[in-house]
């Protein structure tokens, strides 16, 4: 689907039904062992107000001809270490044709770039990292941003009855800026 613009907006309570739909019906297991209900998501939302949980949560919204169309995904900056200045990225962009959490399309990549820009240019962090479970095919997208694999955590998640590995990929601010200049 083509949108005029993809925006990252601070999450609102009205995004919760979309979030619930995406998280509970996502095509690849996201290692969430519970079905999430509205109360659980409302609680999570309330605990994130005023930055109380230390995370930055965004809804990825699509607009067409200037009008808000729908919420197509969610992303966050979490586990921020303000002394060592790094954080974990969480990103999920829902499409019908690609089960990866960051599908290889212009809209998703543009939203992901905005999230990284926010971490480096607004929060002044020096490193971002993301966990890639082996059932989530996003390494190609991460490579295009210059992410480097730091290693593989063996058997760290459970998915469909099997333990699966996750790769941790990271990007330093200087690597990101060098790539931007080129």
């Amino acid at each position: 689907m083509n949108y005029d613009k993809i925006k990252l907006m601070q999450m609102e309570r009205r995004d919760i039904p979309d979030l619930k739909g995406i998280l509970n019906s996502y095509k690849i297991p996201l290692c969430e062992f519970r079905e999430l209900n509205t109360s659980a998501l409302n609680d999570t939302y309330d605990s994130s107000l005023f930055g109380k949980d230390g995370n930055y949560n965004f809804a990825i919204r699509a607009t067409t001809e200037g009008a808000f169309l729908s919420t197509v995904g969610f992303c966050s900056i979490k586990c921020i270490d303000w002394v060592s200045r790094h954080c974990e990225l969480y990103f999920i962009y829902a499409t019908d044709d690609d089960p990866a959490t960051i599908p290889n399309n212009d809209n998703a990549i543009s939203a992901f770039r905005t999230l990284i820009d926010f971490a480096f240019n607004e929060l002044n962090l020096q490193k971002v990292w993301i966990s890639v479970p082996e059932n989530n095919n996003i390494k190609g997208v991460l490579n295009s941003f210059g992410f480097v694999a730091e290693g593989v955590r063996r058997r760290s998640k459970l998915s469909k009855g099997d333990y699966i590995d996750e790769t941790i990929c990271s990007l330093l601010v200087q690597e990101y800026r060098e790539r931007e200049i080129k």
Binding site: W129, V148, G151, R155, S156, S170
Partner: protein, 177 residues
């Protein structure tokens, strides 16, 4: 009480151990990765001890050696994922403890035994700063595998340090003497 050789893991008591937690918490050291970077105080540690029993994903022990009179450090088990059956842990011993390699090895035996044989988890992960060669050698000797090399992951004494994450699966664990 958990013990191996001369080392013991004691449950934390408010009356006996809060002063040690404050002292250890404010003692700098390369292998102190998990604990907060702020200075800590008695009230904070009392609050922690009072609520330990309510937390399902966190365990804290005082390490004592060579007798149960001398407290040499702490062992934290945290981020316990009861579904994937994984956890992270941190063994911290004061730099002034004698014979860190021997006591560290015995503490690792106790930790592995508790995690794999007592509470039945399947994976243990531990972070070490690359400069801490004693603990790196100790974990490798105990069969841990280096899984991640986390670049610029810790800001310590004015510089960004690389952290190595070691992982040990339940079937890889064996007691080392």
């Amino acid at each position: 009480m958990l013990h191996f050789g001369e080392v013991r893991f004691e449950p934390v008591e408010r009356r006996d151990h809060v002063s040690h937690l404050v002292k250890f918490g404010n003692d700098g050291g390369l292998n102190k990765l998990k604990t907060t970077k702020r200075r800590t105080c008695v009230s904070e540690q009392e609050e922690l001890v009072d609520h330990l029993h309510e937390r399902e994903d966190y365990f804290l022990f005082i390490i004592s050696a060579p007798s149960d009179k001398i407290r040499i450090g702490t062992c934290e088990i945290y981020d316990v994922d009861w579904v994937a059956r994984t956890c992270r842990a941190c063994i911290w011993m004061t730099d002034r403890a004698e014979n860190i390699p021997a006591f560290g090895s015995q503490a690792t035996n106790i930790l592995g035994n508790y995690i794999f044989k007592t509470i039945g988890l399947q994976k243990l992960s531990i972070d070490v700063v690359t400069e801490d060669v004693v603990m790196m050698a100790l974990y490798k000797n105990h069969g841990f595998h280096q899984e991640l090399r986390k670049r610029n992951h810790l800001y310590l004494r004015g510089k960004y340090k690389t952290i190595v994450e070691f992982g040990l699966l339940s079937e890889e664990f064996e007691i080392k003497i």
